[in-house]
Symmetry: C2
Subunit: 249 residues, 2 copies
DNA sequence: CTTCATTTGTTCGTATGTATC
DNA sequence: CGATACATACGAACAAATGAA
């Protein structure tokens, strides 16, 4: 075949690793927002001057970063850009750490604790004096589940996201949610179940909410620490227990 | 050829989004560590029973998550799984936020401050009574640059990563570094340069180090806050200035 | 230094499943 | 139901980079 075609592919040497970058640039240039449609694959082939396969690989890469969202048979739209990629990567890293699974999980738990303590002032600022029926309801559900010996992962996650929602820092909220996901994804792999501590954890959520709404900073910090205490105790007793002290208050 | 036909892979029903998962599973099953070689593309085609295009898309997806690292002409190895994807996604999100660039940056800065304060106890624990020539040297370089009116991004980043290195929480270190990268990537887009504050920032780093090594928690927190003060002031004066108070101490 | 095999990078063509109208 | 548009998948060929003989 005519292998000498395309005399004008002058820029084809700079395309080392930039097809995905081009698409991102295109999104920015057109001012596309999450949910807006992206040009179809053939259109992208033409606009970027690359083949279908390259476009597909680039789109796949962007999809894994949640920058675009592909809908089969329909098209591709700009994604919501949540922190799912972070979760996926860190879960895999935690699992990959083989013998260091405990250490990886401990790092996540320590960071969750640190973040919750760090955001304490802002959380209290937003909840002081108010009362949230949604959060109270979640606490009640957690207590019910705990007393029946069941876990309450969905309610737990919801509680923490709802608690942080009012502070107006989307990034912080997503980060806490992401760590929660990592946490709950890695935890069952360790095969540690603590039926006794479930009730403690459920009650701790109630304490957290009560402290936040009463504006008591000291109590809030104490409740946060108590909330993680069973986990940290478990991690330090099973593992080598290194520097998990956080006796902040 | 022992093409065992794989009678039960269902042709193409389950392979919606699982090729990448298969590769991850393969990494785990073979106990591969970062730096270890991954089977070549043709080998993966055979082992997973999919075409090379599919393998390539999956590898590309994993590469964007830093789970694998592809080296042209050489092969593919297990990646270091740093937080580059997080940085990339959030930088893009920050830029995409159009009019909310300031808000996005403010969220990042607030989180940096929160994280630094949350890790304060652990940092001090590790630096108390010791003295780090590396960190002292970095502070000196920053001061020199600041007095000459130059910026010192490389030294700044290095300082924060070195400061957090001894606490033994890799995740925290990577996260702080990631936020620093986001921060420094978004900041210049706002076109704000504050030559007067450069010297303040440089001195703040010296205060942070001194407080950490002397074990003075109060001074450390104050130095951290002072370190971010020029930035937060800038963000709240230019922006709408919403709830950036963090008068923790 | 050159040659060569290996491996990834890119492209084309084709067939198929799926959603929308 | 059919028609159209789109994403999904496959396979073959060639280009480019790397490393070793």
């Amino acid at each position: 075949m005519d292998s000498t075609r395309d005399p004008d592919i002058g820029e084809s040497r700079m395309r080392r690793s930039t097809t995905a970058e081009e698409i991102k640039r295109l999104i920015l240039k057109n001012g596309l927002r999450p949910g807006d449609a992206i040009p179809t694959e053939p259109e992208l082939c033409e606009k970027l001057g690359v083949s279908r396969s390259s476009v597909r690989e680039a789109i796949r890469a962007l999809a894994t970063l949640d920058i675009v969202e592909v809908r089969h048979g329909h098209g591709t739209v700009v994604g919501e850009m949540r922190l799912k990629p972070l979760v996926e990567t860190l879960v895999f890293r935690g699992v990959l750490s083989a013998g260091d699974e405990l250490a990886a999980l401990r790092e996540v738990v320590e960071l969750r604790l640190a973040l919750d303590l760090a955001l304490a002032d802002q959380v209290i600022e937003q909840h002081r004096g108010k009362s949230s029926p949604v959060l109270a309801n979640l606490v009640q559900q957690m207590l019910t589940h705990a007393e029946a010996g069941r876990s309450f992962l969905a309610e737990d996650r919801r509680f923490h996201t709802e608690l942080l929602a009012p502070i107006g820092n989307q990034l912080a909220g997503q980060l806490v949610a992401a760590f929660w996901d990592i946490h709950s994804a890695v935890l069952p792999r360790l095969g540690l179940a603590l039926p006794a501590d479930i009730l403690l954890t459920a009650k701790a959520h109630g304490d957290i909410l009560a402290a936040a709404e009463s504006g008591d900073t000291q109590a809030y910090r104490a409740a946060i620490i108590a909330h993680y205490e069973p986990l940290l105790r478990m991690l330090s007793s099973t593992g080598k227990g290194h520097g998990a002290e956080q006796t902040q208050a």
